[in-house]
């Protein structure tokens, strides 16, 4: 029960500011019917309970499913199977998303039936599936994520040159619709699972970014569709706004069954796929399976309550606030937009899930609070700028989107890698159900009152802005983080320079003895040198020519060489060179060579070579016959060569 209580307190901490702001506005400026206020309060309670249960369900149900799927994908033996499962996962979580179907119907109506709702849903889901394939391969192959995303966004940019502004807005909106309350936590869990299996140094940064990858899919699908079918313009008006009727409980009763059905449909394909794979491959133990089923039930229940609360309580309130403030004074609109954006995004289910996952994955290195604060400032600015856009018709959507994404993509190469993934994810994460209802309603309400604003375009644009702004703001913070880390490293380096106790050895001078020999002779050379007083050598594989090359079909076949170098005391280096030269029979054309390069007497305050170690007592005991360090040769430096050969 403590887990549930923890979720409750987490949700209520984010929800209380929203309630305070809305109620403040309601009692001072908006002054709606008391019915609307009561519905808002009831909706808030439903949201609180629903979200807490939903988050519990994600922990118990969605995360383990994501883990199992990740194992199945990553351990597949054929790339075809990886691609197949990845595609199916992307397709199945998207195809049943209720928001996407609603958008499909809107587009169908607006395009006069030229684009069917269902074909559009399938197309978008296929787009997501394709991108999940690419994202999975990118992750497992370990390719650069910033470069991958730069390519993905570059492609979107090129396509966007060929589509109209309405379609651009709808494409962005569809990407917001696919990254809904259900898909985002699942995809987050999937990529966290994949990165855990892949492991390695990049496992932290690999855990994020898949949501960002996924959200490019719908944009590709819709823009390509627009270009191929030639569908450019969408006319249409947003439905006439009317405050819902039926008393305090009416809308709630209206929405509850609808949302239950929608959530059930959304959850079903993925669940079915999981149980199918479980039957075939995972064979999860009963206890775990029952936990997962419980988790799925929580997810369903929580999502239903959450969405019912949002739709019945927040939708009208958003519209009314937008209308009232737009009617009141012009300067207040951006300010209220800023405040709403800042606090509402923290109630997004996916934002809370992301915050948890960041803390878990980075082991608290990156506090979830920093991410949330950056996210909410980004969204706040996005909503504020959207309000300005509604007020000033000359400002176009792409005036913000293009530079925003461009700077974001550029910064991604300079940013802390973990932040890059989180930043791209945050776009999809922030544009969830709360944005799609409350913030959108607020914007549409304002657009309906402000003369010259287009409800359809301006309304859709808000979601695109909310999807862009956190990408940018997080990239900026990531870049600052990176800079700080670099400065820290520089500081640490300076510190360690001060601390480093350079050994004041008795040997002041070294030679770097380099031998170039035929491939295969290196081991022998090392033994000879060791006997002559050298320490360990370092071997390089090279190719080269000393003398005549073999010619095959007029191509030079170069000889394979091994280069060995040792650092030796100047007093023994000549002896080592002599020993190598004689015992390896390096005379003759193309046989090999021994060089001595001066490494020492560099006028530095310390001996130039540091880190050379003397052999330990055990090692000496293991090879008692060989004088193995330069030190041992020192008493009779003049006899180095003879001693080596007599050995």
């Amino acid at each position: 029960m403590s887990l549930l209580r923890q979720k409750f307190s987490e949700v209520s901490r984010s929800l209380l500011p929203v309630m305070a702001l809305v109620l403040l506005l309601a009692f001072t400026i908006v002054r709606p019917d008391s019915e609307v206020i009561w519905r808002f309060l009831l909706g808030s309670v439903l949201l609180l309970v629903g979200l807490a249960i939903f988050l519990l369900g994600v922990d118990l149900g969605m995360n383990p499913i994501g883990d199992h799927m990740a194992v199945e994908v990553a351990t597949s033996k054929s790339s075809l199977k990886v691609a197949f499962i990845a595609f199916l996962l992307g397709f199945l979580v998207t195809v049943a998303e209720p928001d996407l179907l609603i958008l499909g119907h809107q587009v169908e109506a607006a395009s006069g039936g030229a684009i069917g709702a269902l074909p559009m849903v399938y197309l978008v889901s296929a787009g997501v599936g394709m991108l999940i394939i690419f994202g999975t391969f990118r992750l497992l192959r370990g390719r650069s994520f910033p470069a991958f995303m730069a390519l993905a966004y570059g492609g979107i940019f090129v396509l966007s040159l060929f589509v109209s502004e309405e379609f651009l807005a709808i494409s962005f909106d569809s990407s917001g619709a696919t990254t809904g309350a259900l898909t985002t936590p699942f995809i987050l869990a999937l990529s966290a699972g994949l990165s855990r299996i892949k492991g390695g140094k990049t496992s932290e940064e690999d855990a994020f970014g898949m949501v960002g990858v996924m959200s490019a899919g719908p944009m590709y699908a819709l823009m390509l569709m627009s270009i191929i079918t030639g569908q450019k313009h969408i006319q249409g008006e947003a439905a006439e706004f009317a405050v819902q009727q039926g008393g305090v409980l009416g809308p709630l009763m209206n929405y509850l069954p609808k949302e239950l059905l929608g959530s059930l449909v959304a959850l079903l394909p993925l669940t079915a796929f999981f149980f199918l794979l479980n039957h075939l491959y995972f064979k999860a133990p009963r206890r775990e399976l029952s936990r997962i089923i419980k988790g799925l039930v929580y997810t369903l229940l929580g999502l239903t309550l959450f969405l019912t609360g949002v739709y019945s309580g927040f939708l009208d309130m958003g519209q009314l606030i937008g209308r009232a403030i737009a009617g009141q004074s012009s300067w207040l609109l951006p300010v209220v937009g800023f405040l709403i954006g800042m606090i509402v995004v923290l109630v997004e289910p996916a934002v809370i899930v992301l915050g948890q996952q960041i803390e878990e994955t980075t082991g608290g290195r990156i506090p979830g609070r920093i991410i949330k604060a950056t996210l909410s400032i980004g969204v706040a600015l996005a909503v504020m700028l959207s309000m300005l856009r509604i007020m000033i018709p000359e400002l176009k959507l792409w005036h913000f989107l293009l530079p925003g994404f461009l700077i974001g993509v550029l910064l991604s190469f300079r940013s802390d890698p973990v932040f890059v993934g989180i930043a791209y994810d945050s776009g999809g994460v922030a544009s969830g159900p709360m944005t799609a209802t409350f913030v959108l309603a607020f914007a549409q309400g304002a657009a309906a009152i402000v003369p010259g604003a287009n409800v359809l375009v301006d309304g859709f644009g808000v979601i695109a802005m909310v999807a862009m702004a956190p990408v940018l703001s997080l990239m900026i913070v990531g870049a600052v983080f990176q800079r700080k880390a670099r400065a820290k490293l520089r500081e640490e380096v300076t510190q360690s320079v001060k601390k480093a106790q350079l050994p004041q050895g008795s040997i002041e001078m070294y030679d770097c003895v380099v031998a170039i020999v035929k491939r295969g002779l290196a081991a022998q050379a090392v033994d000879i040198a060791r006997a002559a007083g050298a320490g360990g050598g370092t071997i390089l594989h090279g190719r080269g020519s000393g003398g005549h090359d073999l010619k095959v079909f007029s191509m030079d076949i170069q000889k394979e060489k091994e280069i060995i170098f040792w650092l030796t005391d100047t007093r023994v280096s000549r002896g080592i060179a002599a020993a190598l030269y004689e015992q390896l029979e390096l005379e003759g054309e193309g046989g090999g060579a021994v060089f001595m390069m001066p490494s020492g007497a560099l006028g530095l305050e310390h001996p130039v070579a540091v880190g050379l170690r003397e052999e330990t007592e055990e090692e000496k005991a293991a090879h008692p016959k060989e004088p193995s360090t330069a030190e041992e040769m020192l008493p009779q430096p003049g006899d180095a060569a003879e001693e080596a050969s007599s050995d």
Binding site: V493, A500, E508, G537, H541, A578, Y581, E587, M597, L604
Partner: protein, 225 residues
């Protein structure tokens, strides 16, 4: 003993063979090529995430009289004095020959170039630490470096089977002005914790001549050869 210059030439992969052939025509005694990775931070390469460039390192042994010819060939035919075309630098050497009865050279002899303008720092580290070492070196003032994969000679172990474990190594090669060498060397020593047993070594070779080395980004001038 024949003395001369060991010229290290670092160029993009694929160029070394042609270079080696030309150098031999000009009297280079011996050349060996190995594969390396460049680490020069170029803004554009960084942008596309391809800042690890594949390089070839050519080690030429050139007798004293032919050095000038090789350098002028590098400049006129391979344009090493321009940026991003590659770099070359000389380290003096003595080649061992058995007929040489000369007494062993004392340490401060002229060929050891104790006051050379540049130093080539070589760090031999565990495999995989090359990039980390480069970061540290850059923080301490190094401009660029080349990483070469190598392996250690293997200390004979006291196993039942005569196994020689060959520890895999990264060699980091950094050419830097003599004045900044001590700081970089100490940074590597301290930060890569080379005081630990067997962690690695770092040493310097005198560099008497360079070509294509840029001291400061944007300054756009080659250091006088």
């Amino acid at each position: 003993m024949t003395s001369g210059s060991a010229i290290y030439i670092i160029v993009d992969r694929g160029k070394a063979n042609r270079l080696l052939r030309r150098a031999q025509e000009l009297g280079a005694r011996r050349g060996t090529v190995f594969l390396g990775e460049g680490t020069l931070p170029s803004r554009w390469q960084d942008f596309f995430g391809i800042n690890q460039t594949r390089k070839e390192v050519l080690l030429l042994a050139v007798p004293g009289g032919q050095i000038e010819g090789v350098y002028s060939m590098l400049q006129t035919e391979f344009h090493l004095h321009k940026r991003y075309k590659g770099i070359a630098f000389s380290v003096p050497y003595m080649q061992y020959e058995p007929d040489d009865q000369q007494a062993r050279p004392p340490g401060q002899e002229a060929w050891r170039a104790p006051d050379s303008p540049y130093v080539c720092l070589m760090a031999v580290l565990e495999r995989g630490l090359g990039g980390e070492c480069m970061k540290v070196a850059r923080a301490a003032g190094a401009r660029g470096g080349t990483i070469i994969h190598a392996h250690g000679a293997g200390v004979p172990q006291d196993y039942y089977f005569p196994l020689n474990i060959e520890p895999q190594k990264d060699i980091v090669m950094i050419v830097t002005p003599r004045a900044s060498a001590p700081l970089i060397r100490q940074a590597i020593y301290g930060h890569m914790q080379l005081e630990r047993k067997g962690a690695g070594i770092v040493f310097g070779l005198p560099v008497t001549r360079t070509l294509g080395l840029y001291e400061e980004r944007g300054q756009g001038r080659a250091v006088a050869p």
